[in-house]
Amino acid sequence: MHGRPRKAPKPEDEAAATAKAQKLRALQTQFFSFHHSKIYTKDAVELSAKLLEINPESYTAWNYRKLAVEHYLSQPDCNPDSVKSVLNDELGVVESALRQNFKSYGAWHHRKWVLSKGHSSIDHELRLLDKFQKADSRNFHAWNYRRFVSELMNRSEKDELKYTEDMIYTNFSNYSAWHNRSVLLSALLEKKAEGFLSKENVLPEEYEFIHQAIFTDPDDQSGWFYHLWLLDQTVTIDYPLLVSTWPAHGSDVFLVGDRCQIGSSSPFTTLFSDSGSFPIVLYFNQPVEGVSSSTVSIECGFNKSKDLLWEPLSVSNSQTAQVWVAHLKFPTSELDSSVEVSVGHTKEIVSRRGFQYNHPSTFSFKVHVQPVERDSSQVSVAENILWREENFNVYGEQAEESIPIVSFDRLCIKNGHESAASNWRIEALAKEIECFRELLLLMDCKIGKLTLARLLTAYDAMLFPFANKLVHSEEVLELYNDLMKLDPTHHRYYKDEYSSVLLQKMTSSKESLLQHCFRYKDSVSSAIGNTICLRLNNLSLSRTRALEKLLWVQMLDLSHNELQSIEGLEAMQLLSCLNLGNNKLRSLTALEPLRKLKSLRVLDISYNQIGDHSIDTTRYLCCSPLSHSVGRELNKDETVINDVTLNYWEAFYVFRDLNLYQLDIVGNTIADEKFKPVLVKIMPTLKRLDGELLD
């Protein structure tokens, strides 16, 4: 069934095909005339059977038969026996169609439809399936139907699991069998069936099983897929957890109305705010829904409002997101107050897979408010942020004492409560690592290297709360470097993974992070006040991931990388200056995460490839004027900037909600003379475009 070369048709075959087509056309014409005049006589129904026997792909004919059956069932003179015989006739037609093409969607669907009428015996179905699965053990239609039948007859998952095992023993290159195994195991684990109480008991055996396949034939993909699933089962913590927050627990937040440095407060925690509110950011380990004022309660002295609005920070418009933000208003008068945030004391925070957040946690911080003394816009307008090397000073050791140690350590939440339960996970990963090191000793194998890299990354992440460092990051980076050379076809994937590990490594410790922290010019006169600039430039990053420890960053330099997407950046709610210059961003839609950054004032996207391609091809989903969500938002402003929406809807969509003072866009295809006025029109707040002061 698989791997058979296609033969060129011989002349006599072609003649036969022509004859067949002629016959088929005649049949079809007659069939349609019956169908259109709703004739369901015996002859008419038989004609459709004949048609389907030749061409099982005729969906209309299948639907016609369904109508014919319904028609028959609605007759007053039909009795249970005749119903049964009519349905059996249908099964017969399906069977002969499947003999013609056992991968006919229409035929399998029709069979399901007939069976779900509930009048036919199911026992025959498994026998039929055995025949089909013997003929082609990888026929996924048969496997799908098998799941349907076994559910219908309440066949136990354990029996089915045994069946997958038998099929795998016959030939382990069977994606369908491995897949069904993962489906069945998930179901058994969820039910906590006997012998399947916990992953801890089930997964080691499965690992043992899949090793046999992987070691026997590392070139076979099917086993690797299953291994990836097992790895996911091992690494993924089902329950949502809070990974980090801003403000961090125990921190002091200095809220200033103007941008002058205030005393010796920590740059990690001082925030300029001209809107009279500051964000509270919750960063979970996976996308969750249900974060609201009823699931997150805030105790503070200055804001008694109960209905704080929590907003999901997700690019798509779904109500599920990994990062959530709420804006807490603070009074304009001088204030020192503590805030306590409690997350998850009611059970409504739920992961995408339906697991509840069940580790209620509380964090508190102190807020110090300095009242606004001047009109903030006066100061900021004049300031031109230049991302030149000479404008940055190493935020070196002389300044280190000014950073409260605690502030870094508390950027991330330690989830001690999970550690005891995770021992088996760590053990399982350690065992896998050993196993794949062994495989790589035997042979050079790309997927083996990739798996080892994944394993080491997961292992480091799991051990991080205990080891406080990523022990294997150097090795992982080396592996990805190797893979990029070995397997150029998947270079971009490896690059993304590489970037992610590199970012994790840099943010994993205070020492490594400080190497990338700089102070912008002489900060006293600076418009950005006390802010440290985190410079992650020239690292050939292609993705922005692992941002959970960077929630405090207000000035970020990501220039001279290879970014094609900035997904995830929306989590950095405090960002006010961002440099994305000299990257590989190809469209304005790739900038969509910026829409969520309400504090962003200075943006550099110069020297990218924006305009080369109208949509962000690195993502599957993109917004377009046709998509429902965008359209709705546009409608409101339609009358305002009609001409803009027509030609520059992406620009309008991305920039409309931003309050930028300064934008650098030079060096992109899109940035021609026609475009600049559009930008000015979209962003009335803009004061400086490509270094030029606007009126």
Partner: protein
């Protein structure tokens, strides 16, 4: 053979070819010659087909073995009234079997069922699904007369009675629980290398230098661990002698041949839909095979006369050339060519009555000479339980040194159950064989396997004292305590067989059953012999273009 009914004289009296003995090579040649439109007379002194390749009832086995273990039958009485045209040379048989040791531990049970046994005299022997013999059977249509069943599995045995299954395919390697992960990887990679080499892939070519080197060296070079090497050498390539001891090894396998063996094994797996493993065995025993070719020959006009002994050769007085034979019935039959099995020998006329034709004098010593190619020790054992609880038909290989340090050849054991119609229901036949230099060594090899896998009951001293002495003397049987869970031996026959090759001389002779596991060498020998005597003719010309794959070893084919 006293009750031979009188035969009508054979007519015609002149043939292109006379074949004496219905062993496999003789039957193949008879069929090939008949197919090539030769007139053929095929004779056998026995009342059954197969000669030394026969499958016979239990009760007949002892007499068959002993008939061929004693010295010549009474020499032909030369009569004085010979015609002047030819000399008559008496023909007798020489012993083929020696050191026969038949022991019964359960008398009554076996007597009742004696006729239900079809015991192979030259066992163990099987087919590889893709070997030349199967090809020949399919090509000649001999498969119409027989049915096959698959041998379930191949194992490697050790001296503790354990069997390790031979991971002979991708699925088997995956499933095997005794192999470590590294071993699985190494073995599969080796298989892939061989497969790639055979498919002619450039990047996986095995160098000529490697191909000419000993296979065992190549396996070492590939870094395969001893266990896997042993699997490949002895259970897949079926090497007979210890490949790692050049001192004792008489058939050092070259990489090229080893790879061909692997290819054969690989091609055998999955060739027929109904056959799960690589090996096949004919229902009713291997005697069916000779019979199938005889039937095939008969269809093409070959004349068969069983129970007919040949007493003498007729040779031209002047030239010493072969002319014909004299039957036990007294009739003289003439032919151009003669093929006999090599157990026959010409008895030199005692005295000087008719002087031997000169040209023949020089040849006779050679013709009656016994070649020294060693022997093969064979054993047949009967049990009532299978050696493996979940399986009935399987092969076990004991590689050299696996049972005791001095074991230089591999020993093969084939268990066949009643579903192959070789024994009554509920019983199992074990065929064991090993190459050896002499009877004692052979007996030791067979005994070593028997004591490893079977419980050998204490022999009733009255019944067979002689046998007991021999048993006790040649092996360390001792007293096997029952209750070890090993099957109990009911009956056993141990014997040694001479190994003789066929010869092409003024008379051609076919080879005797060899020490191989399959029939390919015998088929080759028959092919070669046929080409010697009929260089003009084709050995079974390809008749139709039918696809052999369609001729499954299925259930539908007619059975004799």
């Amino acid at each position: 053979m006293d009750d031979i009914p009188p035969y009508p004289p054979i007519d015609p009296t002149t043939f292109d070819l006379i074949v004496i003995g219905t062993g496999l090579p003789e039957s193949i040649i008879a069929a090939a010659a008949s197919t090539a439109s030769k007139s053929v007379l095929h004779l056998d002194p026995n009342p059954f087909y197969g000669s030394h390749f026969c499958s016979i009832p239990l009760a007949d086995l002892p007499s068959f073995l002993s008939t061929h273990s004693t010295s010549p039958s009474p020499p032909y009485q030369q009569s004085s009234d010979e015609s002047n045209e030819f000399s008559v040379l008496g023909l007798s048989t020489r012993p083929l079997y020696s050191s026969i040791d038949i022991t019964r531990f359960s008398p009554d049970l076996l007597d009742k069922n004696s006729r239900k046994f079809n015991l192979d005299v030259a066992g163990p022997r099987v087919f590889f699904c893709a070997d030349k013999s199967i090809e020949l059977i399919l090509n000649t249509g001999a498969n119409q007369y027989m049915e096959f069943k698959s041998i379930d599995a191949t194992f490697v045995g050790d001296n503790k009675g354990n069997f390790s299954s031979v991971p002979d395919s991708r699925a088997a390697i995956f499933k095997d629980k005794s192999l470590g992960l590294t071993e699985k990887n190494q073995l599969m990679r080796f298989f892939k290398l061989v497969k790639g080499h055979l498919a002619g892939e450039q990047d996986v070519k095995i160098s000529d230098e490697d191909l000419q080197s000993p296979f065992v060296d190549f396996l070492n070079k590939m870094g395969l661990p001893p266990k896997i090497k042993s699997f490949i050498l002895y259970a897949i390539a079926m090497a007979d002698y210890d490949q790692e001891d050049t001192g004792v090894c008489r058939d050092l396998l070259k990489t090229k041949d080893g790879i061909d063996q692997l290819a054969l094994y690989n091609a055998s797996i999955g060739r027929f839909q109904n056959a799960s493993g690589a090996l096949l065995y004919p229902i009713y025993g291997q005697g069916e095979l000779s019979q199938a070719f005889c039937r095939r020959a008969a269809v093409k006009g070959c004349i068969y006369v069983l129970r007919m002994s040949v007493t003498a050769l007729l040779v031209d007085k002047d030239s010493g050339c072969y002319m014909g034979i004299r039957l036990a019935s007294g009739q003289d039959i003439f032919s151009q060519k003669l093929i006999i099995d090599p157990t026959f020998k010409v008895t030199l006329p005692s005295g000087s009555s008719p002087p031997l034709p000169l040209p023949l004098q020089g040849k006779l010593p050679f013709f009656s000479q016994k070649d020294d190619r060693g022997k093969i020790a064979r054993g047949i054992c009967l049990t009532r339980t299978s050696l493996k609880t979940d399986m009935s038909n399987f092969l076990v290989v004991y590689p050299p040194r696996s049972l005791f340090p001095e074991q230089v050849t591999s020993i093969r054991l084939l268990q066949i159950a009643s579903n192959l119609a070789v024994c009554p229901p509920g019983m199992f036949v074990l065929y064991i064989s090993a190459l050896c230099d002499d009877e004692d060594q052979g007996k030791k090899l067979i005994h070593a396997v028997m004591t490893t896998v079977l419980t050998v009951p204490r022999i009733n001293s009255e019944s067979n004292a002689a046998a007991q002495n021999e048993t006790a003397g040649s092996s360390s049987t001792g007293t096997s305590d029952p209750g070890e869970g090993k099957p109990t031996l009911l009956w056993s026959a141990l014997y040694s067989q001479e190994l003789t090759l066929g010869q092409v001389d003024f008379i051609c002779s076919t080879p005797m059953p060899d020490g191989k596991l399959n029939y390919d060498d015998l088929v080759d020998a028959a092919d070669k012999l046929f080409k010697e005597i009929y260089p003009e003719d084709e050995f079974f010309p390809q008749t139709s273009s039918k696809n052999p794959e369609d001729d499954d070893d299925g259930d539908g084919s007619p059975e004799t």
